[in-house]
Every structure is written in C-alpha cells, then in structure tokens.
Symmetry: C3
C-alpha cells in the first residue's frame, strides 16, 4: 500500500506544482481523498470443517477440546454451544466441493461465546505450501455466525503474504447438522508489501 | 493516519518548493518529526464480566471452559488461576454501571497464564451494532492484571473501525470476589482508514 | 517506518522538481521501489517451555488445559497431540541457557491442531519489564513445528514496541522428550513507530 500512496502523492504534487508554476496566483487546492478502499489483493477460498462426534474419527478435521461445566467434549453443548472450544485443521479448496484437491490448510480454533445465539471467536491461519501460494495468512475476530456475511480481520501474514493486513468476509456456504460446515472466505488485503 | 500524513507532506513540500523557487540558494531543510503520537480516534468503554460459579447461571456472562489438571470448571484454580481458560460475552457500557444500556458486546476469551501472580492472555472483540457504532474492534495481548493499567494491542477492525490499529489501556474498575469484575478500556487508535 | 518514507519521498520530490524546473521537457520518471525489506528493528531471544507432566510441578512453566475427547490433561494426547491446548509462562533468555537470567516472560498458549503431523497455533506475548526493554510484543500464527524454521506474525506491541508489526522466525533449538523445548525467536520488525 505504502509505495502506491507514495507514487500517488508524488504525481499529485508534481502536477500541483506545475500548475502552481504556470499560474500567477497559486491556489493551494487539496484534492479530496479518493473514494473508499480497493484491495491490493483479493482471494476467495472455501474451507470445510468436520467435527469429531465420537463416530467419525477417520473423516473428522476438528475436535471439541474445551467445554463449559455443563458440557462434554463429544457433543456440542446446549445454550448455543457457549463455551465449546474447537480445534481444527481443515482443507482449503478453491471451489465448494469438499473433495476438490486442497490448496492449503485452515488451522486454528474457534470458541462459541454466546448463550442465546450462535457466535464464535476465531483465531486461525491459512497455511499454503504449493506452487501457487507459499506462506500464511493470519486471522482473528468475532464471527456472529447467524449473519449471512460477517467480517473478521487479517492481522498479518508471512511468505507470499508478508506483512499483509485486510478484512475477510465469511459466509456459511453449507452445513449439515452439527457435524459439517463449509465457509466461503473472501479475503480482501489492503496492505500488500 | 495515512491521508493526514499525505496532506501534511504535500503542504510541507508545497511550501518548501515555493521557498526554493523564490530563494536563489535553496536550503533543503527537513522539518523534525512532530512529537509522539496522537490517536486519530479515542474511545472509552466499560465491560462487565460475571463468571459462572455453579449458582449464577442466569446472570453469568462468562464460563470456565479449560482448567489445569489440578482444577475444575466451576471454581477458578489455585496458583493464581493458572491454566483457567474463560470464555465471555460481556455487555459493554458507556459508564461504570452494569445496568446501563449496553452499546455492544465484548466477546472472546482469557487464559490465566502465570502461577505466582495474576496475569492473563486476552483475545477478544468489541462488537457493535447500534446507530452509534457498527462493526468490530479486535484485541490481543498480555494482561498483567495486578497493574493499575496495562496496554494491549488493537490488531484490527471492521465496519466503522475498518483496518484500524492501536493500543487499548485496561484498568480494573471494580471487582467482587472471584465472580464479577469490570474493566475500563481506553482505546487509542493510531491507524484510522 | 512512516516518517522515513515521508522524508525519502520529500527528498525525492525535491530533486525531481529541481530537475523538472531546470529541464525544458520534464519527464516524470518514477524511481522503481527499492529491493525487499529491511527490518527497522531486529531482536533475537530464546524461550524455554517445561510442560507439567504430573511430577514436575516445581519447574513446570506450562500446563495442558484442554484436550480432545480421547485425551487427558497430564499426558499429551496421541495423534500428534491434536487438540491439546497448552498455557505457558516461559522465561525468555538472551542465550540458549535455561538458567541464564530471564529478560522477560513469554506468556500465552498453543494448540496442537493436526492429527498426522506436529503443528500448533500460537497466541502469545513477550512481556518485558527491565531497564533494557519495557513493554510487550504480541504474536499470532501457525507453527508447523517439524520445519526447521517457521514464520509467525508480530501483530502489535506496546511500550518500547508501540504499534510495531513484523515477522518472527521460530526455530526449535532443543527439546527433551515431551517435557522440555526451547525456541529461538528471531524477531524482525518492519513497522517501528
């Protein structure tokens, strides 16, 4: 982001000064800031979460590892799963097909954090190690998961995503009971180094 | 932060060049950097945490969901609660009154992480959805909670707080035994988009 | 980082304009961006993690506080410890000697998040309170810990590390069974305020 801003202001000043030099009465006219923000990079992925339920150990990509006093670690707790901490290592795909070749792994955790409605707090990374992408994107934020879309923060990155920041829009693309869900993640990076 | 810096440097250059053009012997004079940092945005809130203790399920806004081998999930563990992971969904208010109308929710977790003194690691969000604020602010950092004030990082934001960064100063405003505490959060944002 | 960029672009423009004024046919020539990124600050530390195993409560600096349904909190679980959540308060030293005087504490958590190989997700802080450093550095990211080196994000800082961002390279410097490990952390900060 920085270099572009540098160029824009350099060009802007360049023309401002030309005008200034040509005109006898210079009017310092500050151009209004251009409208909102365009991502410097835009990526879309899907990831697939299969929670261990005591019977699916072969396929499960996630497990409950913390629960409230009234819960256990095999069945998501009542009261909107409040207090369940889930660890995951989910395949990332380019389309919405669980069986497509994964392009990376989504790894981290979510904690259900509200009693009266489904919301969670997320901390996780997308980890890539392919010819297309190498490196990681780190995410954190609140996921009010009953909303059609919700925004979390891209808080950093490494490798191909060195020092990046941005916003990721999550959308529940599908779910099956309490075992499987699929998220569509629309990553808009606004700081690209 | 960025646009202001752009304008400032544009104006600075504008005048520098005017001077340069007028004077026969240009003196490239670089203005010293202005003193420290002023937040581009400054907000103060309170939030209220009521930990479930087995008897207060109606009022509780938080629950212990992880504990060390020597602990359980109804009573905070000995040794400064080391190892207790607490999930919370706490009301945010503008003043220090628990019963004031909440303006948002503080959602996330803290983990007590030291045996000989009370310290915790925090990952949480302020989630707003009112006419005044819409969006979220994401926080992370160490909370040495016996200190009068302690600083954590604002690592990102969405909506009205798009891409923000800053520092939040926490202060324990009140506590009652091991069930209730109230934090005052002074949020100073230094990157505002 | 910002101020330097400001100065650089100011000087660049200053000379660009001088040239422009002197020459009859101005050629707006944008200098290419200088090669990669040099840290504005570079620090190296070690930290030492001793996991509680039921017998070492005196020395232990970490404890298992969450585990998958098939595990417990005294022994790291099978399947690459998938699902174990560990809280730590580890001494930071300047060299690789566990018994050197600590210069700070590494505090936070890691969660083993993969079944077929050792990987973890980290959220933690370096907390300093000495004459040399005062303040904190906050980290988050994926740690594929079988790799010789792996990068995580510096997502913020306070005090001497106010608003910093960067990348930290982790390297397992030593480990002893499942009880002790030592990480070398090479912190490269690219945003320094």
């Amino acid at each position: 982001m920085e270099p572009n801003k540098g160029l824009v202001s350099a060009l802007f000043l360049f023309f401002l000064l030309h005008e200034t030099i040509a005109s006898p009465t210079p009017k310092p006219h500050i151009k209004p800031r251009p409208p909102p923000h365009r991502p410097c990079r835009h990526l879309t992925f899907y990831f697939h979460d299969i929670i261990f339920n005591g019977k699916n150990s072969k396929n499960a990509t996630a497990a409950i590892v913390g629960s409230p006093p009234w819960g256990n670690r095999t069945i998501l707790a009542g009261q909107s799963h409040f207090g369940n901490l889930v660890v995951f290592d989910d395949p990332i795909t380019l389309d919405n097909n669980l069986h497509s070749a994964p392009v990376g792994r989504a790894q981290g955790f979510y904690i259900y954090d509200r009693k009266d409605i489904f919301t969670a707090w997320l901390g996780f990374s997308f980890v890539f190690n392919s010819t297309q992408h190498r490196g990681s994107i780190n995410f954190a934020g609140a996921d009010p998961l009953m909303n059609k879309t919700r925004d979390i923060s891209v808080i950093g990155g490494t490798g191909d995503f060195f020092m990046t920041r941005g916003v990721a829009t999550l959308e529940t693309d599908a779910f099956e009971g309490e075992v499987y869900f699929r998220l569509r993640v629309d990553i808009k990076l606004y700081e690209c180094w």
